[in-house]
């Protein structure tokens, strides 16, 4: 089955990102297809390459990048939400791309299920 994931919360002080990441990994482990992960609202903070978590914490941005590299998952950051929050091409983590909200709608149409994490 085809899945799309919507992430609406930032990576620190909110569990939503970790939940979305675990769900994404389980989608792939379960033999399903992950059409796209769309980062909206505070979710765009996940794509900030400059973020470096304190010792003992896992970098979710890095974990998303690894997922993209290993499994060719399409990670899309909302351009408007990113602009507003200072997430741009210049500081984008590897594996993410910036595009419009239409990509979220398209993902929901292409996928059999859209699952939202946050806020």
């Amino acid at each position: 089955m085809k899945f799309a994931i919507l992430v609406n919360e930032g990576p620190f002080g909110h569990q939503a990102t970790a939940s979305a990441l675990s769900f994404a990994q389980a989608v792939l482990t379960g033999g399903h297809e992950l059409v796209r992960v769309f980062f909206y609202m505070d979710g765009v903070y996940n794509a900030n390459r400059l973020a470096s978590p304190p010792a003992g914490e896992c970098s979710t941005a890095r974990a998303w990048s690894e997922l993209a590299a290993e499994s060719r998952v399409d990670l899309v950051v909302c351009i408007a939400a990113g602009m507003a929050r200072g997430v741009r091409e210049a500081n984008l983590a590897p594996g993410f791309r910036i595009s419009g909200l239409g990509q979220m709608v398209e993902a929901a149409v292409l996928a059999d299920r859209l699952v939202t994490f946050g806020a």
């Binding site: 899945f3 939940s19 389980a26 989608v27 379960g30 399903h32 299920r113 859209l114 699952v115 946050g118």
Partner: protein, 102 residues
Amino acid sequence: MGPLHTVNKSPFASTALESCLARLTEGAAVLLIEDGVYAALAAGAAADRLAEAANRHPVYVLGPDLAARGLAEASLLDGVRVIDYLGFVDLATRHSAVQSWF
């Protein structure tokens, strides 16, 4: 099958669970994740309302979120089923849509 409803807020802090339970339809199921898992504590003040819903709908709780919080399965309400992320994905495939309550 009806929708799968996920709830990620504590029932002691937020009305999200109560709001969700009040809108369950035939065939709907509930999955407690993140801080939502506290609702499944059998000895907690929120247990009665959840137990009532569990009589008519499957209620699941995400095991990794229980473990992170130090909650033992033995402390949960009867009838609540513990699943992992693969189980979450599987539930999503078997329900018509996934609706998040937060």
